[in-house]
């Protein structure tokens, strides 16, 4: 009886060891994002942003450059869904897709236009660390003739890819701010997501 139990335990331990060893090779199992990888992502974003703000290109070109950066490095679908809030749950798949696309253009125009103020400046990544269930990467923005300020990026791999999903400057958080703004726009349109999407194409 006792020897049976021992054998059984030994076998299960061996099986578990084999399973654990095989774990990294299992298909569909997302690898865990590390601080270094989160920081690496923001290093690439910042390098792209720095080259845009010092490219000497026109405002319209900078806006389109900013949109490419968003598409490449940001988790726009989760930002759009989160900013829309509870109404996102009752929206159809098609409604959400067109909203996300319009929202991406709106974000690019609204924030891309402000890139003009960054011309001649530089962003430097200083620190990365794990917070809650994601990563926070801290960078310093040095603008000409202004005191440097901190720009924080939140990075997650929950989309299946390493992406940033939020930006924070002096405590002001992109997602929270846009949720208030998009919420106000939605209220104005009596909760009509299609009307909101149509107007977002011209906003920002």
């Amino acid at each position: 009886m006792s020897s049976n139990l021992t054998r059984f335990t030994r076998r299960s331990v061996m099986a578990m060891g084999a399973a654990l060893a095989a774990l990294p090779f299992l298909p569909g199992e997302a690898h865990a994002l590390t601080v270094a990888e989160a920081r690496g992502l923001i290093d690439r974003v910042v390098a792209d942003v720095n080259s845009v703000i010092n490219s000497g290109r026109s405002e319209a070109q900078m806006i389109s450059d900013f949109e490419s950066i968003l598409v490449r490095y940001a988790d726009v679908p989760i930002i759009a869904q989160s900013v829309l809030g509870p109404p996102a749950r009752s929206a159809s798949r098609a409604q959400l897709n067109t909203f996300t696309e319009a929202f991406q253009g709106y974000l690019s125009r609204k924030y891309g236009r402000r890139f003009r103020e960054f011309i001649g400046g530089e962003i430097i990544v200083t620190e990365g660390r794990a917070v809650q269930s994601f990563f926070e990467v801290i960078s310093t923005v040095n603008l000409r003739g202004e005191a440097p300020f901190e720009l924080r990026w939140l990075v997650s791999d929950r989309s299946g890819q390493d992406r940033f999903f939020n930006l924070i400057i002096e405590g002001v958080n992109l997602m929270v701010t846009e949720r208030t703004e998009i919420g106000a726009m939605l209220d104005r349109r009596n909760g009509d997501i299609d009307a909101l999407t149509a107007d977002l194409r011209n906003a920002g």
């Binding site: 930002i79 798949r93 269930s133 405590g171 208030t180 703004e181 106000a184």
Partner: protein, 279 residues
């Protein structure tokens, strides 16, 4: 027996003695710990209708007077002069900062701000320059609103003040206390104290000029500039009060379904064009 004969401290130290009497009270207040700071930008706004009316008045005042004045000031006066005037105004705010640092029992900051005031008032040519920042004593602005926060007083409701703009019920009380107790206003003689007020107003006008693009984009482009300004103010104010404390970020992935059973209609990454046979 009278207080005067028995008193170990001379009469001139009466106010200091009063401060010493308050000290245990301060320790008790500080021991209560700071008020909790809610995450995000949610705040009660019970006087919203009235606040919105004041906001409309402030926007009108900005369009008619403050905006154009700031524009003219920014164009007429060279940047170094404007910065110098703003530095003077900031330097004259240091005694009030030190007073609040003492009430907050942040004695290190009280010492740093005292040194800042000493360095900038002398080597910094009466505050025109800011050499203190260059030698590792950066500006650490505070106010009585923060002092009350340190004592555990919650922010209260959102309030919107004429001319001044966004505030909370606690910070409105703080603003009044700061004006009433400002050592510079109390101790500076007649003509100089009005120069101090003048520098303070010019500093605000310079801020309006420096942040022109941001302010215009809120007033002109926002769907609801009142709600947007409230959100920005509350987020930034809580950030100032939080200091180095950890912030509780909203996790947008928190309520996201995970695994194979995720509902494609609720999955923000669902791609309707995806090839289902690709492995």
């Amino acid at each position: 027996m009278t207080a005067a004969t028995d008193d170990p401290l001379p009469r001139s130290h009466a106010s200091f003695r009063r401060f010493l009497l308050c000290a245990p009270l301060l320790v008790m207040l500080a021991a209560c710990g700071p008020a909790t700071l809610p995450p995000g930008d949610a705040i009660t706004d019970p006087s919203e209708a009235q606040n919105r009316a004041v906001h409309r008045g402030n926007v009108a005042l900005d369009r008619a007077l403050i905006g154009p004045t700031a524009d003219a000031y920014g164009r007429a006066i060279p940047d170094p002069v404007r910065t110098g005037i703003s530095n003077v105004a900031a330097n004259l705010g240091e005694p009030s900062n030190v007073l609040n640092n003492l009430l907050q029992l942040r004695l290190g900051q009280a010492v740093e701000n005292t040194l800042r005031f000493a360095v900038n008032s002398t080597i910094g040519l009466a505050g025109l320059l800011d050499p203190a920042s260059a030698i590792g004593l950066p500006e650490q602005d505070t106010n009585f609103g923060e002092t009350m926060h340190v004592w555990g007083v919650p922010e209260g409701a959102y309030t919107y003040l004429p001319v001044v703009g966004p505030s909370t019920s606690r910070d409105t009380v703080g603003l009044i206390v700061d004006i009433a107790t400002n050592p510079v206003r109390i101790f500076l003689p007649a003509p100089e104290s009005s120069y101090a007020t003048g520098a303070g107003i010019l500093s605000r006008i310079n801020d309006r000029h420096e942040f022109d693009n941001t302010i215009d984009s809120i007033y002109d482009d926002s769907a609801d500039s009142y709600a947007q300004l409230r959100s920005l103010y509350i987020q930034n104010r809580r950030f100032q009060l939080r200091g180095d404390d950890e912030v509780d970020y909203f996790d947008p992935y928190g309520d996201l379904p995970t695994g194979v059973a995720a509902d494609p209609l609720n999955d923000p990454y669902f791609d309707p064009y995806e090839d289902p046979y690709v492995q």
